[in-house]
């Protein structure tokens, strides 16, 4: 576990800044309706996540973490947004026209989820209080917000972004709670996410071809009656 004394105040500031940006990006995803903007915000969130890892790497003087930071940046700020964007032109209307829960209510819900995450994460923080572990609720919040995006947004692209938000949140929580995520684990998780996005991209294209739309509620007709 990271020692409190070892963190300089500048590092702590930088870490909290990254975490703040990370959380803010998730909330902005809820706020924006333009799909292209959502993907851009998601890419920025990837940068923030890479920033968190980079700060930790500098603090712990760990080459492995630095490599991971670069990897996170490459995958989550560049690779995945690129893949999602590639699926977009084919994916019909470029706007999230009518989410199941409107934007204002979504933002309120995000606030409630944040409070819940802070309340739930308290025992984790008391296990070993340090500036780093105090940021853990941010990861948890992003997981919950991602889940919320999944259940309220209609477009396939928003669904993919929701799924990726969950994964970003999990990754952030992992980096913040453990001193070091083993490289092999992070690689494995990243590969999984990459494959999931590829599959979702194919599905989105197929949906577009089959229904002329990517509204997931069109899939209702597929159930057996």
């Amino acid at each position: 576990m990271t020692d409190t004394a070892a963190l300089s105040s500048l590092s702590v500031q930088l870490l909290y800044l990254s975490c703040g940006a990370f959380l803010l990006a998730a909330v902005v995803v809820l706020w924006r309706r333009q799909l292209a903007a959502i993907v851009r915000v998601f890419a920025l969130q990837g940068v923030a996540l890479a920033g968190i890892v980079a700060v930790l790497a500098v603090e712990q003087r760990s080459l492995e973490l630095a490599l991971l930071a670069v990897g996170v940046l490459a995958l989550r700020a560049i690779g995945l947004p690129w893949l999602v964007r590639r699926a977009m032109p084919a994916a019909g209307p470029a706007r999230e026209t009518s989410p199941l829960v409107n934007v204002a209510a979504s933002l309120l819900a995000a606030a409630v989820l944040t409070l819940l995450a802070y309340a739930v994460a308290q025992p984790l923080i008391t296990l070993s209080p340090s500036p780093v572990t105090r940021a853990v609720p941010v990861g948890l919040t992003v997981v919950l917000v991602g889940f919320f995006v999944l259940i309220t947004r209609r477009r396939a692209v928003s669904q993919v972004i929701g799924f990726l938000l969950i994964d970003n949140g999990i990754t952030a929580a992992a980096f913040l709670t453990t001193a070091e995520v083993p490289l092999i684990v992070e690689l494995g998780v990243s590969l999984d996410v990459l494959f999931a996005v590829l599959v979702l991209q194919v599905l989105t294209t197929r949906m577009q071809a089959a229904f002329g739309d990517t509204d997931l509620d069109d899939l209702t007709e597929l159930r057996d009656t």
Binding site: L100, L113, L116, A117, A119, V120, Q122, P123, L144, F147, F148, L150, I151, T152, R154, Q159, L216, D217, L219, T220, E221, L222, R223
Partner: protein, 679 residues
């Protein structure tokens, strides 16, 4: 060098090679190669099993092969007997399969395909491994492998007949419920024994409370009894065994069901050390009910393979009567009678394996030649399929507990045990033993009726359909395999004096409370401590002499009178046709009337009147069906309940992805709130 180790190694190796061969070699030669290798595997299994019975102990521990618990194999005489029985059945079934699954065969069954042939040797190997497994992990893995491979084999012909899929569903559900019961019992047991090896379980059994021991026994009994097709858990058996390809039916009905008995004996006698008397009263009751109910349904059945399937339930019932009686005697401290009853049960397992293999293979030969299993559409096969007819007749004789049949010896031994047990002391014996004797006797009588029906209606008289009329005899491998099983039946029937003394170490391995049952004699089987002896060989000789004498006498008398050729008497109604014959339904009708209250047959008579006058009848339609009453009363309500539950659940699933995700989200948030509030 230990022959048990060589045999088991060779057996598993051959099965593995067979499976790989099936994967790579072309369609034309696949059935031949797989059949030969599977037969080698079975034969090596017989060698290993017999070596195990002869006292060559084998213990193999491979701690790294499976994560967490590793593989642990121990072959003792008890496991050896069951391994030898499985191996023997596997040899005959594998040789039969060469001809039966050949792509050149008539109808093109599609059984030569890769998927079927790859799984077949694995099924044999799994069954050979079950009696050798010596830890809970190993046992459950082998057991499940056996269940899954047999399920795949049952489903082999699902494209040709829709009934196969339904049978597979029943089998899959029942076998996995049974697996769950076994798992619960053994895991509860293992909680008190570190490591979960059978040796550790044996040591820990003494320290368990009677309640835990009882729960362990009943849970495992449920699982093993469902595998053996014991009433009321038998419903899958008369569906799955007939729908499987015939040589797989033989493997399942003659070999796999035995392993259920093995499980009961292993857990009840060996691991739990006999325990309380009520366990064994329960086993005996289940056995007696299964025997009578099974053979009654068999007597009513018009489907040849279904009849054989119900007969399996009957025979497993008889075996359980023996096992239950042995347990009661052992719990009461009567070692001699316990040993006698156990030996009778084990001998019946072996006999049943032999004659059920023969019968299912012959039924397969008939099915292969005619394409039907319906006895009402068969008949007249004697002239066209003489070898199959002869061998089926032999199997029917062996199954019907008449002198010169294999089952006669074991049922005689069983009756000896039960009759002498009446005086073994206590009210429990005085009540249960006579009832059990009556059940066994009734079963024996009904078995004769069933097999007379199967043989007489199916093979004799005139053909009732074009398929039966155009039947041709099966190929040499199929006849050869049936001949092999037939030879085993004859050997078991005439020379039990060889096998019964060899059962002594097997019975001994089942527990210290059982004694060796029989003294050997060259010709006569003499029982120890209770009066009783039997010599099937002398009996056979006497019967042969008597039959010869009668034939000679008739010749002598008949030669004195002039012979004349004449038509069979037909009441003057013109030549006899196939429609005047007894069918399977009409043959069983008197029995159906006698057991009306038990069977509750469904009769449906529709009378259509002539339009002009209702006093004149235009046509009468008569339908009779004998449904499985236990299935109807016990299973249908449960199935309806599950169905209603499923319908109610359907309201939750409206097809909206958001709703499904929402269920997960709200549950998660709810749990987190609960956590945050209650912490």
């Amino acid at each position: 060098m230990n022959p048990a180790a060589v045999g088991l190694g060779l057996s598993l190796g051959a099965a593995a090679v067979a499976s790989v061969t099936a994967l790579v070699c072309p369609d034309r030669v696949r059935p031949l190669l797989v059949g030969l290798l599977a037969a080698v595997s079975g034969a090596a299994g017989v060698v290993a099993g017999v070596a195990g019975m002869a006292g060559h102990r084998l213990a193999v521990t491979l701690p790294d092969l499976l994560p967490l618990f590793g593989i642990r194999l121990v072959l003792d005489p008890l496991g050896g007997l069951f391994m030898a029985a499985v191996g023997g059945v596997a040899v005959a079934a594998a040789v039969f399969g060469i001809g039966y699954t050949s792509p050149q065969g008539r109808g093109g069954s599609g059984l030569h395909r890769r998927a079927f042939q790859v799984v077949y040797p694995l099924f044999v190997a799994a069954m050979l491994l079950v009696p050798a497994a010596a830890s809970i992990g190993t046992f459950l893995v082998c057991w499940e492998l056996m269940a899954v491979t047999s399920l795949l084999l049952v489903l082999a012909e699902h494209r040709r007949r829709p009934a196969v899929a339904q049978a597979g569903l029943w089998y899959a559900v029942m076998t996995h419920l049974g697996m769950v019961a076994i798992l619960v019992g053994l895991v509860l047991f293992a909680a008190h024994a570190p490591g979960g090896s059978f040796a550790a379980l044996r040591d820990a059994a003494g320290e368990l409370s009677p309640l835990v021991r009882g729960v362990v026994f009943v849970a495992t009994l449920i699982g093993f009894a469902s595998k053996s097709g014991v009433v009321p858990l038998h419903v899958w058996l008369p569906r799955a065994h007939p729908e499987a390809p015939s040589h797989v039916s033989a493997l399942m009905s003659a070999a796999m069901v035995n392993l259920g008995v093995y499980g009961i004996v292993r857990v009840g006698f060996d691991l739990l050390g006999v325990g309380s008397r009520w366990w064994w009263v329960l086993v005996l009751t289940l056995g007696a009910v299964s025997a009578v109910y099974g053979i009654l349904q068999a007597a009513m059945s018009t489907d040849l393979k279904r009849l054989l399937g119900y007969s399996t339930t009957e025979n497993m019932g008889l075996v359980l009567v023996g096992v239950g009686a042995a347990g009661m005697f052992a719990a009461a401290g009567n070692q001699v009678l316990a040993g006698l009853a156990m030996a009778a049960a084990l001998l019946h397992v072996v006999n049943h394996a032999a004659f059920k293999t023969l019968l299912f293979l012959s039924a397969g030969s008939v099915l292969h030649a005619t394409g039907t299993r319906d006895l009402d559409e068969l008949g007249g096969l004697r002239a066209r399929m003489p070898a199959t007819t002869l061998l089926f007749g032999l199997g029917a004789l062996a199954a019907s507990a008449l002198p010169l049949g294999a089952a006669f010896v074991s049922e005689w031994l069983l009756l000896q045990g039960l009759i002498h047990g009446v005086a073994a002391g206590g009210v429990a014996f005085a009540v249960t033993m006579p009832v059990a004797v009556a059940a066994v006797a009734l079963t024996a009588g009904l078995a004769v009726a069933s097999f007379v029906k199967a043989f007489g209606v199916g093979f004799l008289a005139r053909p009732r359909s074009a398929a039966a009329e155009n039947a041709t005899e099966s190929g040499p491998t199929m006849i050869g395999a049936m001949g092999l099983a037939g030879a085993a039946c004859v050997a078991l029937a005439l020379a039990p004096t060889v096998l019964v003394p060899a059962l002594a170490p097997v019975v001994g391995a089942a527990g210290p409370l059982l004694d060796s049952p029989a003294a050997q004699g060259a010709l006569t089987l003499r029982l120890v401590a209770v009066a009783g002896s039997l010599s099937p060989l002398l009996l056979a000789a006497a019967l042969l002499v008597a039959a010869l004498a009668v034939v000679l006498l008739l010749r002598f008398v008949a030669d004195r009178r002039t012979r004349r050729q004449a038509r069979l008497w037909d009441c003057g109604a013109g030549p006899l046709s196939a429609r005047m014959e007894y069918t399977a339904t009409s043959f069983a009708e008197p029995l159906q009337r006698v057991f009306d209250d038990v069977l509750a047959p469904e009769l449906d008579v529709d009378v259509t009147h002539v339009q002009e006058s209702r006093y004149l009848v235009d046509s009468v339609e008569y339908r009779a069906r004998v449904p499985d009453r236990i299935e109807r009363r016990l299973y249908q309500p449960v199935l309806r309940l599950v169905d209603a539950w499923g319908q109610a659940g359907r309201g939750l699933a409206n097809g909206s992805v958001h709703r499904y995700l929402g269920y997960g989200f709200y549950t998660l948030v709810g749990l987190l709130v609960l956590l945050a509030v209650t912490r």
